[in-house]
Structure formats: structure tokens, C-alpha cells
């Protein structure tokens, strides 16, 4: 049999490399990969743009937070704000002025120091473009807010008070002005930065194959000390969640970020796998078109809110809690005892009788993001619920850009419009402002709903720095919104992550937890 050895050897290598469970990995193993310490993250989302002031969404956040740096960063549960580019900061008593002391060691990839001018330049570009994460600071700062006191001192003066300002800063990336200016072109370097990195972070892009994978590699002799032992990482696009799960199970991936509850159940007792199932500030609601069509009628909205089968929604969502009102459970000011709609067909019919729809024969429309299985299931739960009160539902899958485009006017917005809102910062303002403030009308987060009363409450909550007073404001906000019934308040899905047990240094943070931060992670 000796002559068959080379073949066997090949087979062994293949099995080990593909994570085959047939042979013990110790036989040969991907020794090279071991030495290289490359972490593989399986995700179903492509990364549409690298521009730190244009891109948004979790996959972009996952890329940007590893190749760009921000003034501060967040970590842990509850969320703590930690130094990053800024090694320390002070806040004025009225909460209007922040002074950041930059880490003098911080350098961009080309060796240029990350100085106050670069911070100022980055905020100015963010505001100029008005895209990406700019909404987080929109109206809070203007072009004169950020000033460079000296090379390593930045002062940010808010235009309006905002209690959670530090919480939004981790998502505002600092670019290298030298590179951006050199490649400015006619579009403020958007073309350039769409595919090029001009950051200061510990990782850089080694390989980008859109639709397939993005490979990071660690920058040698980086200014940041400490961290894990990773030499690189791969953001691998694996569309099917079951494929993600199997990749993880077989060791082909170290972290899977889009698993379904079914996947988590299947992985439960698998060796070598660690599961993270944690509550997160990510809401899922079905918005109703309060401006155009039958759902302008508040009685119909209430009827539907009572008819909806909340239990079925929770069942299909797996690891999830039902929302109590518009704000995520556990966030500052959230009222767990708020009286919200729960399935009650008698009440549903009572409200239905008061509406135009009592005549029957009503057919409503719903759109959802094609391919988002959870949204499709919620759509069917809604269809089933509406049938109980004699309303038909037309469910249509659309690609995300089309849905966003349809949100531009009330008339083009569907009757029902499901949306996930991920909190980028752990403050009620995030969801309240993004999802219910009228300034967001025409955008995907809040296409149509507007109420002067709600707007006023949100603005007051934003400006108030006294925590007790804020709580009171948000309590009132929740009550008003629930009375208006603009949404079917849905579920808070727990964050579901699965990791190989050899991934060390992972700290769960309930904001954008699927945008994995590589710096602190180690393998083996």
C-alpha cells in the first residue's frame, strides 16, 4: 500500500483544508493557515462601497470599522465608550462642547499622523456629502462645529444639545486628507474612496472580490498596541444561512453572522462551536402607510394592530422578544408596562366596524426585501392575520433599492412596509429619531409618518441632558406613538452569532454586533 501514499496525503490535505470531519486535523492540517491566523467571517451581505462617508449598512460598517478609525469606540454590554483615536476627552457641563485629545502615535497607512486637521476634514466631508452615517449627526453639528485647537486637540461644539453624542462618534470615520485631496476629482473623491482605503486602522484590504469575498490583512508595526493575534481576516459572502452554518460546523468559517433561529438550534450541541444569543437594540416593525390609502384611517390601523397574530410572529422569529411599543426593550426610558396592542379579535372587529373597511372587500399591499426570509414569513403572518378580519393582502418581493425608491412619496409607498432598525448607538434617540421624526419622511427609515407632537417630544428628548427628565419624555413619546398606531410593533430579534470555540477575545456589544471588530480577536 505504500505506493498509494501521495494520493492519501493529498486527500488528507484536502479534507483538513475543507474542514472534513473524516480525518483528525492533526494529521497534516492547513499548517500555513494556522501560522497565518486568518479569521473567516461568513456573511450573506456584500459590501457595496468602501467610502466611509457614503457607505451605510452593517456589512459596510464591518469593513469600515476595521480599516478606518474613529475618535472613540464602543464595547461591551452594557455599552461602554472607550478611547480610540482620542485617548481622552472632556465634556462641558451643558453637554454642548466636547474636547478630544488625540493619540499622538496614531498614523495613517502612509505614515501621516492622524491630527486634528484630519478629524476636521473628515467631519466636513461627511456633512458636505450628506450620505452614509451623516444622519446621525445631522442638525447637531455644522461645518463650524469641529475645530482643531492644536495638532492633537479637537473641539466639537454642538449646534443643538444631544445627550448621546459620544454614542454616534464610533461610526464617524476619519480619512487621510492628503490622499483624498490628491484624488478629489469632480465628486469629492467618491469614485476614489469607493474602492480604496485611506484610513489609519490596524487592518487593510488585501483582496476584494465583490460578491465573493473581502480579505483583510494586518498592517505591520501598527501604532495601536495590543489586540489579538489575527494576521488577517476574510469577509466571505455565503448567501444561504444553512451554508453559513455548515461552513462554521466544518471549520471553514470562524464566525457566522446571519444565522436563523433554526440554524442556532441545529448548532446547539455541536462540538467546537460557541453560540451568542443576546438581546440587541434592533427592532423589526411593519410600518403602515399613514398618509395614503386606506391605512390613513386610524381605526383601521388599530383594527389591524389588534388582529395581528403576535404569537405567530414570535414563533417564527425564534430567539426574539415581542416589542412593547416603539422603543427596544431595555433601552433608556423604555416602559415595559406600556399598554400595547395584543391579539384581540373582538377589539379588532370593533375598530374595523368604525372604519371604511367595514364594507369588506379590502385588499392591501405589502412589500418586502426579496430574499429576506424572515420578512417573507412575517408577511405571511400578516396575511394570515388580516384574513381573520376579512382583508386580503398582496405580498410583493422587491429589491432593496426599489423599496427605498418607493418610499420617496406616500403614494408610491406600499400599505405595509416592514423594516429593521438597528441601533447604532444605545440611546432611545436613535430609534425615535430615525423611525418617527418627520424629517426622515421620504427615506426608508420613516417614509410617511409625521406628527408634530411626536417631533416635539423627540427634539426635547434629544436636547435634554437630565436622565430622569429624558425618561419621562420618552415615556410620553411611547404613549403617543402607540395611540397613533403607525406601526405594527413587532419583535426584537436576539442577535444570533456562532463562533468557533478557538476564536478568543470576542466581546459581545449590542450595537451592530454583526459588524465584527477584528482588532481584539485571536485564533487558537
Amino acid at each position: 500500500m505504500a505506493h498509494t501514499f501521495p494520493r492519501r496525503h493529498l486527500l488528507t490535505a484536502a479534507m483538513a483544508a475543507t474542514g472534513g470531519a473524516v480525518l483528525p486535523a492533526t494529521l497534516s492540517g492547513p499548517a500555513q493557515a494556522q501560522a497565518r491566523k486568518i479569521l473567516v467571517i461568513a456573511s450573506n451581505q456584500d459590501i457595496p462601497s468602501f467610502d466611509p462617508h457614503v457607505a451605510s449598512g452593517y456589512s459596510s460598517a464591518a469593513l469600515l470599522r476595521n480599516v478606518y478609525d474613529s475618535l472613540v469606540r464602543v464595547e461591551g454590554n452594557p455599552v461602554r465608550v472607550l478611547p480610540h483615536l482620542a485617548s481622552s476627552w472632556t465634556v462641558s457641563p451643558d453637554g454642548m462642547e466636547y474636547v478630544f485629545k488625540l493619540n499622538p502615535a496614531a498614523k495613517f497607512a502612509d505614515g501621516t499622523p492622524v491630527d486634528a486637521a484630519a478629524v476636521r476634514y473628515s467631519f466636513s466631508r461627511l456633512l458636505r456629502l450628506g450620505k452614509g452615517n451623516s444622519w446621525m449627526v445631522a442638525g447637531l453639528i455644522d461645518d463650524n462645529s469641529v475645530t482643531a485647537v492644536d495638532a492633537t486637540t479637537v473641539r466639537i461644539k454642538l449646534v443643538k444639545p444631544f445627550a448621546a453624542f459620544l454614542q454616534v462618534l464610533p461610526w464617524q470615520w476619519i480619512v487621510n486628507p492628503k490622499l483624498v485631496e490628491a484624488n478629489k476629482g469632480a465628486d469629492d473623491a467618491q469614485t476614489y474612496l469607493r474602492g480604496t482605503i485611506a484610513g489609519s486602522a490596524a487592518f487593510r484590504i488585501k483582496r476584494a472580490e465583490p460578491g465573493n469575498l473581502y480579505e483583510f490583512e494586518r498592517v505591520a508595526n501598527h501604532w495601536r498596541t495590543g489586540g489579538g493575534n489575527l494576521t488577517g481576516a476574510i469577509w466571505r459572502i455565503v448567501r444561504e444561512t444553512s451554508s453559513q452554518r455548515l461552513a462554521l460546523q466544518r471549520g471553514e468559517a470562524h464566525i457566522a453572522v446571519d444565522l436563523t433561529s433554526e440554524d442556532m438550534v441545529a448548532l446547539k450541541d455541536k462540538p467546537g462551536v460557541k453560540l451568542v444569543i443576546e438581546p440587541e437594540f434592533r427592532t423589526f416593525s411593519i410600518k403602515m402607510n399613514t398618509e395614503f390609502g386606506p391605512l390613513k384611517d386610524i381605526n383601521l390601523r388599530k383594527a389591524i394592530s389588534y388582529a395581528f397574530n403576535y404569537q405567530a410572529m414570535r414563533d417564527t422569529a425564534g430567539f426574539a422578544d415581542l416589542m412593547v411599543g416603539p422603543l427596544p426593550n431595555g433601552i433608556l426610558g423604555h416602559d415595559p408596562k406600556l399598554a400595547v396592542y395584543r391579539t384581540n379579535l373582538a377589539k379588532a372587529k370593533e375598530y374595523l366596524a368604525k372604519s371604511e373597511a367595514a364594507k369588506g372587500g379590502l385588499k392591501l399591499s405589502m412589500v418586502y426585501v426579496s430574499g429576506l426570509e424572515q420578512e417573507r414569513q412575517f408577511g405571511l403572518v400578516l396575511l394570515d392575520s388580516l384574513k381573520q378580519i376579512g382583508i386580503e393582502l398582496d405580498i410583493k418581493a422587491m429589491v432593496w433599492p426599489d423599496i427605498v425608491a418607493s418610499a420617496k412619496t406616500p403614494a408610491s409607498t406600499a400599505d405595509f412596509y416592514p423594516v429593521y432598525q438597528t441601533a447604532n448607538y444605545g440611546d432611545p434617540d436613535n430609534i425615535a429619531y430615525a423611525a418617527y421624526h418627520s424629517s426622515r419622511n421620504g427615506g426608508w427609515q420613516n417614509p410617511v409618518y409625521h406628527s408634530a407632537k411626536v417631533d416635539a417630544l423627540i427634539e426635547r428628548g434629544r436636547a435634554e441632558s437630565n436622565e430622569a427628565k429624558r425618561k419621562a419624555i420618552y415615556q410620553e413619546f411611547q404613549q403617543v406613538v402607540v395611540d397613533d398606531a403607525p406601526d405594527i410593533f413587532g419583535v426584537l430579534e436576539k442577535r444570533r452569532l456562532a463562533l468557533r470555540s478557538d476564536v478568543r477575545g470576542f466581546v459581545f456589544t449590542p450595537v451592530a454586533a454583526n459588524a465584527i471588530e477584528l482588532f481584539g480577536l485571536s485564533l487558537g
Binding site: Q311, D315, G379, L380
Partner: protein, 287 residues
Amino acid sequence: MSGARWLNLRRGFYRFRRSWLSMVGLVIVAALVLVALVGPALVPHPEHVAGGINTTARFLTPSASAWFGTNELGQDVFSLTIAGSRVSLLAGISVVVLAAGFGTLVGAVAGYYGGWLDEALMRFTDLMLTLPSLILAMAVAAAMGPGLGNTVFAIALSWWPGFARLVRGEVMAKKADTFVIAARALGAGTPRILGRHILPNIASPIIIKMSLDMGFAILTVASLGFVGIGVKPPTPEWGSLLSTARGYLPDYWWTAIFPGSAIFLAVFGFNLLGDGLRDVLDPRARR
């Protein structure tokens, strides 16, 4: 001539009956048609077919109470699969009929008039044939939005050239036949000659192609469903059922195996039958 034709037909049916493969095909297709006609009314959970859910009974394994198990929403997979037969059959027939209708029109006009018109129409037809049909259908269906009608239209759009070429050839062959020349001499108009004299005489190759195409039309509809460009929920279309179920492999295999097998069985039945019919109606093409 008609005697010889009758004999051919009789021998053909003799062969058809003798060929048990064709008979199996006939049985499958007959069963499929029957199921499509009455099945949706007889399934254990018609409410699930209409989109009803039962989240307390999610992912039940196949058993006596739910033969094919239940899916992620607690819907009875057996009911959905049975009801899917109507969707697939209807879509398949629509595709083939639309394609045959348009293809026959183009082919007949090109073949009958000849000349530059023929040249132009056939160049166009050939170009359409070089286009990758699935990608074309996907692009059109995606641009038109989901829905069975749009899917059918998109597929038919890439399907007609085959019919056009077939009909053109047959019409050109028949154009020179004496009975056509006689009809023309008697002053019959073009539509009349085409409709009354030529088309009835070339019906059998068209029917053969339609029957041979049925299976692939069903397959293509399911393919579009599978890539996620197809019907709207809750329409129980086999391809989209399979596409959803794919995410639950391997643990909840029954949600995938049954709709997938249904596609296979339907296509297989039509292919067996189509093969048999070709033997009957077109003895030249035997083997």
C-alpha cells in the same frame, strides 16, 4: 394518402401502447392534471395553500397526520406541493401556448411570404436563439416584477423562436403542395390559405413540439422561482418552495425533497409522454 396516414397513426398508437415508458408518462401526466384540477380542493389544509399559517406546528417531521411534514410556518408541505401542481401546470401550458402562438405567427408569415420579410424575421429569430434564454427570462421577469403572469410572459419571450423556425420550414414545404396551389388558383386569400390549408396540415409537428416543450417549460418556471424571481407569496410554486426550503437543509429536508421531487416527476412525465407522442405522430423521427 389518407389511408397510409391512418395506418401510420394506428401503428404509432400501437407502438405507444407497447412502449411502457410512454404509458408511464401518460399515467404521470394524467395524474398531474387530475391533481391540478381537483387536488387543491381536496388537500388536508386548503387554508395553508391560501397563505394560512400555524406557527405552533412548525417543522413537524413527515407523519401520518402530515404526510410530507410541515414547514417553517407550520404549513402542511403535502397541501402546498399538491396545490403547486396547478400553478406549475398552468404556467407551463401558458408558456408553451404563448410561445407556440407567437412563434407560429412569425414562422408562418416568414415561410409564406418569403423574400426580405422571411430574411429579416429569421435573422431576428436566430439572434433570439443565440441569447441565453434563462438570463433573458430572468432579466425581463425581474424588471417586470414578481407574479406568475410576468414570469410566464418573460419565459415565453425567449421560447417562441424554436416554434418560429419549425413552422417556417413546414410552411415552406407545404406552400408548394398541389392543394395549396389549387386553393390559390381558386382565388383564396392569404389568411385563408394559411389558416385553412396550411396550418391544419402542419399541426402535428407543432403539437409534438408543444408536448415535448411542456416539461421544460415547467422546469424553467421552477428555475425562475428557485433563483427568487417568480411568483408572489403565498403562491405555492414548487421552485420557490424549494428555494425557501434550501435554507433549512439538511435538518428539515422534507421541506425541500417533496417540492423538488414534484418538479422532477412532472417534468419526467411530460418528457416520457412527449417522447411517446413523437413516435406516434412523427414516425420518421423514431429513434
